[in-house]
Subunit: 185 residues, 2 copies
DNA sequence: TATTGTTATACTCTATAACTATA
DNA sequence: TATAGTTATAGAGTATAACAATA
Protein backbone atom coordinates (compact mmCIF):
# COMPACT_ATOMS: atom_id res chain seq x y z
CA UNK A 1 0.00 0.00 0.00
CA UNK A 2 2.75 2.43 0.83
CA UNK A 3 5.09 3.22 -2.02
CA UNK A 4 4.54 2.78 -5.70
CA UNK A 5 7.54 4.88 -6.57
CA UNK A 6 6.51 8.51 -6.58
CA UNK A 7 6.37 10.67 -3.51
CA UNK A 8 3.36 12.90 -3.92
CA UNK A 9 0.61 14.46 -1.92
CA UNK A 10 -1.33 12.17 0.34
CA UNK A 11 -2.49 14.60 2.97
CA UNK A 12 -1.61 12.50 5.98
CA UNK A 13 -1.51 14.38 9.22
CA UNK A 14 0.20 13.04 12.27
CA UNK A 15 0.39 14.43 15.77
CA UNK A 16 3.74 15.21 17.25
CA UNK A 17 5.41 12.71 19.50
CA UNK A 18 5.34 14.79 22.66
CA UNK A 19 2.24 16.77 23.45
CA UNK A 20 -0.99 15.36 22.14
CA UNK A 21 -1.18 17.00 18.76
CA UNK A 22 -1.54 20.64 19.71
CA UNK A 23 -0.47 21.72 16.25
CA UNK A 24 -0.92 18.75 14.00
CA UNK A 25 1.23 19.17 10.95
CA UNK A 26 0.72 17.68 7.54
CA UNK A 27 3.58 15.24 7.23
CA UNK A 28 3.28 14.90 3.49
CA UNK A 29 5.42 12.20 1.98
CA UNK A 30 7.28 11.71 5.25
CA UNK A 31 4.65 9.23 6.39
CA UNK A 32 5.70 6.79 3.74
CA UNK A 33 9.44 7.22 4.09
CA UNK A 34 10.92 4.32 5.97
CA UNK A 35 14.05 6.29 6.83
CA UNK A 36 11.97 8.97 8.50
CA UNK A 37 10.23 6.53 10.81
CA UNK A 38 13.52 4.83 11.51
CA UNK A 39 15.07 8.12 12.51
CA UNK A 40 12.15 9.10 14.71
CA UNK A 41 12.29 5.75 16.48
CA UNK A 42 16.02 6.12 16.91
CA UNK A 43 15.62 9.54 18.51
CA UNK A 44 12.92 8.29 20.87
CA UNK A 45 15.05 5.40 22.04
CA UNK A 46 18.09 7.61 22.37
CA UNK A 47 16.29 10.02 24.64
CA UNK A 48 15.31 7.27 27.04
CA UNK A 49 18.78 5.80 26.75
CA UNK A 50 20.27 9.15 27.63
CA UNK A 51 18.12 9.57 30.71
CA UNK A 52 18.91 6.00 31.73
CA UNK A 53 22.65 6.27 31.28
CA UNK A 54 23.11 9.78 32.63
CA UNK A 55 25.25 8.52 35.48
CA UNK A 56 27.58 6.45 33.32
CA UNK A 57 28.12 8.86 30.43
CA UNK A 58 28.40 6.16 27.81
CA UNK A 59 27.02 6.82 24.36
CA UNK A 60 25.36 3.91 22.57
CA UNK A 61 28.37 3.57 20.33
CA UNK A 62 30.78 3.64 23.25
CA UNK A 63 28.77 0.90 24.90
CA UNK A 64 28.83 -1.06 21.68
CA UNK A 65 32.61 -0.85 21.50
CA UNK A 66 33.02 -1.87 25.14
CA UNK A 67 30.76 -4.85 24.58
CA UNK A 68 32.66 -5.85 21.44
CA UNK A 69 36.03 -5.57 23.15
CA UNK A 70 34.69 -7.39 26.19
CA UNK A 71 33.39 -10.27 24.09
CA UNK A 72 36.35 -10.33 21.73
CA UNK A 73 39.51 -9.61 23.68
CA UNK A 74 42.28 -8.54 21.34
CA UNK A 75 39.96 -7.28 18.61
CA UNK A 76 41.56 -4.51 16.58
CA UNK A 77 40.19 -1.14 15.60
CA UNK A 78 39.87 -1.86 11.92
CA UNK A 79 37.45 -4.71 12.53
CA UNK A 80 35.32 -2.60 14.81
CA UNK A 81 35.32 0.17 12.24
CA UNK A 82 34.14 -2.15 9.51
CA UNK A 83 31.41 -3.73 11.58
CA UNK A 84 30.00 -0.37 12.63
CA UNK A 85 30.55 1.32 9.27
CA UNK A 86 32.87 3.89 10.78
CA UNK A 87 35.92 5.62 9.40
CA UNK A 88 39.16 4.40 10.97
CA UNK A 89 39.97 7.89 12.21
CA UNK A 90 36.55 8.09 13.83
CA UNK A 91 37.16 4.75 15.47
CA UNK A 92 40.49 6.03 16.68
CA UNK A 93 38.86 9.00 18.40
CA UNK A 94 36.24 6.77 19.95
CA UNK A 95 38.80 4.35 21.32
CA UNK A 96 40.91 7.28 22.51
CA UNK A 97 38.07 8.51 24.70
CA UNK A 98 37.49 5.07 26.17
CA UNK A 99 41.19 4.66 26.80
CA UNK A 100 41.44 8.10 28.41
CA UNK A 101 38.73 7.02 30.84
CA UNK A 102 40.69 3.86 31.54
CA UNK A 103 37.99 1.53 30.25
CA UNK A 104 40.22 -0.22 27.77
CA UNK A 105 43.84 -0.45 26.72
CA UNK A 106 45.84 -0.99 23.55
CA UNK A 107 48.60 -3.56 23.35
CA UNK A 108 50.78 -3.95 20.30
CA UNK A 109 50.08 -7.31 18.70
CA UNK A 110 52.95 -9.78 18.98
CA UNK A 111 52.02 -11.28 15.63
CA UNK A 112 51.59 -8.15 13.53
CA UNK A 113 53.23 -5.16 15.12
CA UNK A 114 51.10 -2.73 13.13
CA UNK A 115 48.07 -3.85 15.06
CA UNK A 116 46.99 -2.85 18.51
CA UNK A 117 44.96 -5.45 20.32
CA UNK A 118 42.23 -4.01 22.49
CA UNK A 119 41.40 -5.23 25.97
CA UNK A 120 39.07 -4.06 28.68
CA UNK A 121 40.62 -2.90 31.91
CA UNK A 122 39.13 -4.00 35.21
CA UNK A 123 37.34 -0.70 35.38
CA UNK A 124 36.09 -1.21 31.86
CA UNK A 125 34.64 -4.58 32.78
CA UNK A 126 32.92 -3.06 35.78
CA UNK A 127 31.40 -0.20 33.86
CA UNK A 128 30.35 -2.53 31.06
CA UNK A 129 28.38 -4.72 33.43
CA UNK A 130 26.75 -1.67 35.02
CA UNK A 131 25.84 -0.42 31.59
CA UNK A 132 24.40 -3.80 30.62
CA UNK A 133 22.14 -3.75 33.65
CA UNK A 134 20.92 -0.22 33.00
CA UNK A 135 20.38 -0.91 29.32
CA UNK A 136 18.43 -4.05 30.07
CA UNK A 137 15.92 -1.99 32.03
CA UNK A 138 15.87 0.70 29.39
CA UNK A 139 15.30 -1.85 26.65
CA UNK A 140 12.45 -3.42 28.50
CA UNK A 141 10.53 -0.15 28.46
CA UNK A 142 10.36 -0.48 24.70
CA UNK A 143 10.37 -4.19 24.06
CA UNK A 144 7.51 -4.68 26.53
CA UNK A 145 5.27 -3.08 23.91
CA UNK A 146 5.71 -6.14 21.73
CA UNK A 147 5.06 -9.82 22.08
CA UNK A 148 8.07 -12.09 21.76
CA UNK A 149 7.02 -13.01 18.24
CA UNK A 150 6.49 -9.39 17.26
CA UNK A 151 9.86 -8.42 18.63
CA UNK A 152 11.63 -11.19 16.76
CA UNK A 153 9.91 -10.14 13.55
CA UNK A 154 10.75 -6.52 14.18
CA UNK A 155 14.44 -7.22 14.70
CA UNK A 156 14.48 -9.49 11.68
CA UNK A 157 13.14 -6.64 9.58
CA UNK A 158 15.77 -4.26 10.90
CA UNK A 159 18.47 -6.78 10.08
CA UNK A 160 17.07 -7.07 6.62
CA UNK A 161 17.80 -3.37 6.23
CA UNK A 162 21.41 -3.45 7.29
CA UNK A 163 22.58 -6.95 6.35
CA UNK A 164 22.79 -6.92 2.58
CA UNK A 165 26.18 -7.56 1.10
CA UNK A 166 27.68 -4.35 -0.16
CA UNK A 167 24.56 -2.29 0.20
CA UNK A 168 21.57 -1.89 -2.01
CA UNK A 169 22.50 0.50 -4.77
CA UNK A 170 23.80 -0.91 -7.96
CA UNK A 171 27.05 0.35 -9.41
CA UNK A 172 28.43 3.10 -7.19
CA UNK A 173 30.14 4.60 -10.20
CA UNK A 174 30.03 8.09 -8.77
CA UNK A 175 32.92 7.20 -6.51
CA UNK A 176 33.70 10.62 -5.14
CA UNK A 177 30.99 12.49 -3.31
CA UNK A 178 31.16 16.18 -4.19
CA UNK A 179 30.03 17.46 -0.82
CA UNK A 180 30.58 16.17 2.61
CA UNK A 181 27.81 15.06 4.82
CA UNK A 182 28.73 13.62 8.16
CA UNK A 183 26.22 11.88 10.32
CA UNK A 184 23.01 9.93 9.88
CA UNK A 185 20.78 12.49 11.53
CA UNK B 1 12.64 -15.50 23.19
CA UNK B 2 14.63 -12.32 23.23
CA UNK B 3 14.73 -10.54 26.51
CA UNK B 4 13.79 -11.80 29.92
CA UNK B 5 15.44 -8.84 31.60
CA UNK B 6 19.10 -9.63 32.06
CA UNK B 7 21.71 -9.09 29.41
CA UNK B 8 24.12 -11.95 29.66
CA UNK B 9 26.24 -14.15 27.52
CA UNK B 10 24.56 -15.82 24.62
CA UNK B 11 27.46 -16.32 22.29
CA UNK B 12 25.78 -15.06 19.16
CA UNK B 13 28.14 -14.26 16.36
CA UNK B 14 27.18 -12.11 13.44
CA UNK B 15 29.11 -11.21 10.33
CA UNK B 16 29.84 -7.60 9.58
CA UNK B 17 27.63 -5.68 7.22
CA UNK B 18 30.20 -5.08 4.51
CA UNK B 19 32.53 -7.89 3.59
CA UNK B 20 31.20 -11.34 4.07
CA UNK B 21 32.24 -12.04 7.64
CA UNK B 22 36.01 -12.03 7.31
CA UNK B 23 36.41 -11.52 11.03
CA UNK B 24 33.14 -12.53 12.61
CA UNK B 25 32.86 -10.95 16.00
CA UNK B 26 30.89 -12.14 18.95
CA UNK B 27 28.16 -9.54 19.29
CA UNK B 28 27.25 -10.53 22.82
CA UNK B 29 24.17 -8.85 24.18
CA UNK B 30 24.04 -6.48 21.24
CA UNK B 31 22.04 -9.01 19.24
CA UNK B 32 19.10 -8.60 21.56
CA UNK B 33 19.24 -4.84 21.92
CA UNK B 34 16.56 -3.23 19.82
CA UNK B 35 18.35 0.12 19.85
CA UNK B 36 21.45 -1.46 18.35
CA UNK B 37 19.60 -2.91 15.39
CA UNK B 38 17.73 0.34 14.94
CA UNK B 39 21.00 2.24 14.83
CA UNK B 40 22.58 -0.17 12.38
CA UNK B 41 19.57 0.08 10.09
CA UNK B 42 19.67 3.84 10.37
CA UNK B 43 23.32 3.94 9.36
CA UNK B 44 22.74 1.64 6.40
CA UNK B 45 19.89 3.75 5.10
CA UNK B 46 21.84 6.93 5.66
CA UNK B 47 24.74 5.71 3.60
CA UNK B 48 22.55 4.99 0.62
CA UNK B 49 20.74 8.26 1.20
CA UNK B 50 24.03 10.09 1.20
CA UNK B 51 25.15 8.56 -2.08
CA UNK B 52 21.74 9.29 -3.57
CA UNK B 53 21.60 12.91 -2.47
CA UNK B 54 25.23 13.80 -3.08
CA UNK B 55 24.28 16.34 -5.71
CA UNK B 56 21.67 18.11 -3.60
CA UNK B 57 23.50 18.27 -0.28
CA UNK B 58 20.41 17.91 1.82
CA UNK B 59 20.61 16.00 5.06
CA UNK B 60 17.61 13.89 6.01
CA UNK B 61 16.63 16.42 8.62
CA UNK B 62 16.95 19.29 6.19
CA UNK B 63 14.71 17.46 3.76
CA UNK B 64 12.24 16.82 6.55
CA UNK B 65 12.07 20.52 7.38
CA UNK B 66 11.65 21.50 3.74
CA UNK B 67 8.84 19.00 3.37
CA UNK B 68 7.15 20.25 6.54
CA UNK B 69 7.39 23.88 5.48
CA UNK B 70 6.23 23.00 1.98
CA UNK B 71 3.18 21.15 3.30
CA UNK B 72 2.47 23.64 6.05
CA UNK B 73 3.22 27.14 4.81
CA UNK B 74 3.64 29.50 7.72
CA UNK B 75 4.62 26.82 10.21
CA UNK B 76 6.87 28.20 12.95
CA UNK B 77 10.14 26.90 14.28
CA UNK B 78 8.86 25.90 17.68
CA UNK B 79 6.38 23.45 16.18
CA UNK B 80 9.02 21.89 14.00
CA UNK B 81 11.31 21.63 16.99
CA UNK B 82 8.68 19.85 19.03
CA UNK B 83 7.73 17.43 16.28
CA UNK B 84 11.32 16.43 15.65
CA UNK B 85 12.40 16.50 19.31
CA UNK B 86 14.97 19.18 18.67
CA UNK B 87 16.17 22.03 20.81
CA UNK B 88 14.93 25.42 19.59
CA UNK B 89 18.48 26.67 19.15
CA UNK B 90 19.26 23.61 17.08
CA UNK B 91 16.21 24.27 14.97
CA UNK B 92 17.34 27.83 14.57
CA UNK B 93 20.70 26.73 13.17
CA UNK B 94 19.02 24.28 10.83
CA UNK B 95 16.63 26.90 9.48
CA UNK B 96 19.49 29.36 9.20
CA UNK B 97 21.32 27.04 6.85
CA UNK B 98 18.26 26.51 4.70
CA UNK B 99 17.60 30.23 4.62
CA UNK B 100 21.22 30.97 3.71
CA UNK B 101 20.81 28.66 0.72
CA UNK B 102 17.64 30.53 -0.21
CA UNK B 103 15.39 27.50 0.19
CA UNK B 104 13.03 29.15 2.66
CA UNK B 105 12.33 32.51 4.22
CA UNK B 106 11.07 33.87 7.53
CA UNK B 107 8.26 36.40 7.72
CA UNK B 108 7.16 37.96 10.97
CA UNK B 109 3.67 36.77 11.79
CA UNK B 110 1.01 39.48 11.57
CA UNK B 111 -0.94 37.85 14.37
CA UNK B 112 1.83 37.23 16.90
CA UNK B 113 4.85 39.32 16.16
CA UNK B 114 7.13 37.05 18.19
CA UNK B 115 6.65 34.35 15.61
CA UNK B 116 8.30 33.99 12.25
CA UNK B 117 6.24 32.16 9.70
CA UNK B 118 8.27 29.95 7.41
CA UNK B 119 7.70 29.67 3.67
CA UNK B 120 9.53 27.92 0.86
CA UNK B 121 11.06 30.09 -1.80
CA UNK B 122 10.66 29.14 -5.45
CA UNK B 123 14.09 27.63 -5.31
CA UNK B 124 13.12 25.76 -2.19
CA UNK B 125 10.10 24.27 -3.92
CA UNK B 126 12.26 23.20 -6.83
CA UNK B 127 14.88 21.55 -4.70
CA UNK B 128 12.21 19.89 -2.58
CA UNK B 129 10.65 18.23 -5.58
CA UNK B 130 14.04 17.10 -6.86
CA UNK B 131 14.78 15.67 -3.44
CA UNK B 132 11.44 13.87 -3.35
CA UNK B 133 12.20 12.19 -6.64
CA UNK B 134 15.67 11.10 -5.57
CA UNK B 135 14.43 9.88 -2.23
CA UNK B 136 11.65 7.90 -3.83
CA UNK B 137 14.22 5.90 -5.77
CA UNK B 138 16.43 5.56 -2.72
CA UNK B 139 13.52 4.36 -0.61
CA UNK B 140 12.54 1.80 -3.16
CA UNK B 141 15.92 0.11 -2.86
CA UNK B 142 15.01 -0.75 0.71
CA UNK B 143 11.25 -1.07 0.65
CA UNK B 144 11.43 -3.48 -2.27
CA UNK B 145 12.78 -6.04 0.17
CA UNK B 146 9.38 -6.21 1.82
CA UNK B 147 5.89 -7.00 0.72
CA UNK B 148 3.33 -4.24 1.10
CA UNK B 149 1.93 -5.94 4.18
CA UNK B 150 5.36 -6.42 5.70
CA UNK B 151 6.25 -2.81 5.09
CA UNK B 152 3.06 -1.57 6.72
CA UNK B 153 3.71 -3.77 9.72
CA UNK B 154 7.30 -2.60 9.90
CA UNK B 155 6.35 1.06 9.87
CA UNK B 156 3.61 0.43 12.41
CA UNK B 157 6.21 -1.08 14.73
CA UNK B 158 8.51 1.88 14.30
CA UNK B 159 5.66 4.24 15.09
CA UNK B 160 4.94 2.23 18.19
CA UNK B 161 8.43 3.11 19.34
CA UNK B 162 8.20 6.84 18.90
CA UNK B 163 4.50 7.60 19.38
CA UNK B 164 3.88 7.11 23.05
CA UNK B 165 2.68 10.13 24.96
CA UNK B 166 5.50 11.58 26.99
CA UNK B 167 7.85 8.70 26.46
CA UNK B 168 8.17 5.40 28.16
CA UNK B 169 9.99 5.94 31.42
CA UNK B 170 7.97 6.48 34.50
CA UNK B 171 8.63 9.52 36.65
CA UNK B 172 11.53 11.50 35.19
CA UNK B 173 12.35 12.72 38.68
CA UNK B 174 15.99 13.15 37.86
CA UNK B 175 15.16 16.33 35.96
CA UNK B 176 18.68 17.57 35.44
CA UNK B 177 21.07 15.34 33.61
CA UNK B 178 24.53 15.58 35.16
CA UNK B 179 26.46 15.19 31.92
CA UNK B 180 25.77 16.29 28.44
CA UNK B 181 25.36 13.93 25.62
CA UNK B 182 24.40 15.33 22.28
CA UNK B 183 23.31 13.10 19.47
CA UNK B 184 21.68 9.74 19.02
CA UNK B 185 24.69 8.05 17.55
C1' DT C 1 5.33 36.01 33.77
C1' DA C 2 5.64 33.05 29.68
C1' DT C 3 6.81 32.37 24.92
C1' DT C 4 9.42 32.89 20.47
C1' DG C 5 13.17 33.82 18.42
C1' DT C 6 17.99 34.89 18.66
C1' DT C 7 23.05 34.98 19.65
C1' DA C 8 27.25 33.30 21.74
C1' DT C 9 29.73 29.55 23.03
C1' DA C 10 31.48 25.03 23.58
C1' DC C 11 31.74 20.26 22.90
C1' DT C 12 31.15 15.89 20.30
C1' DC C 13 31.08 13.33 16.17
C1' DT C 14 32.65 12.62 11.88
C1' DA C 15 35.42 12.50 7.72
C1' DT C 16 39.56 13.88 4.77
C1' DA C 17 44.18 13.94 4.15
C1' DA C 18 48.68 13.18 5.18
C1' DC C 19 51.89 10.72 7.85
C1' DT C 20 54.52 6.60 10.39
C1' DA C 21 55.41 1.91 11.12
C1' DT C 22 55.10 -2.31 9.80
C1' DA C 23 54.13 -6.10 6.57
C1' DT D 1 52.74 -1.91 -2.54
C1' DA D 2 49.30 -2.46 1.02
C1' DT D 3 47.71 -2.24 5.74
C1' DA D 4 47.03 -0.49 10.73
C1' DG D 5 47.33 3.05 13.27
C1' DT D 6 47.97 7.93 14.07
C1' DT D 7 47.73 13.05 13.87
C1' DA D 8 45.99 17.43 12.27
C1' DT D 9 42.33 19.75 10.66
C1' DA D 10 37.81 21.22 9.55
C1' DG D 11 32.93 21.20 9.42
C1' DA D 12 28.21 19.99 11.00
C1' DG D 13 25.04 19.06 14.75
C1' DT D 14 23.80 19.71 19.14
C1' DA D 15 22.83 21.75 23.63
C1' DT D 16 23.28 25.42 27.37
C1' DA D 17 22.81 29.83 28.72
C1' DA D 18 21.76 34.31 28.24
C1' DC D 19 19.16 37.95 25.95
C1' DA D 20 15.38 40.79 23.21
C1' DA D 21 10.91 41.35 21.68
C1' DT D 22 6.34 40.38 22.27
C1' DA D 23 2.30 38.50 24.39
Amino acid sequence: MAGDGKLEDDGHSVPGPGTAGKHPLDMGCLTEILGFHLRMANVAIFQDYQATMAGLSLTPKQFTVLELVGRNPGVVQIDIAELLSMDKATTMALVDRLEARNFLERRTSTIDRRRKDLFLTGEGQTVLQEARDLIAAHEKRFTSRFSAAELDAFIAQLRRIYLSGEGPHGDQEAGNLPERRTRPD
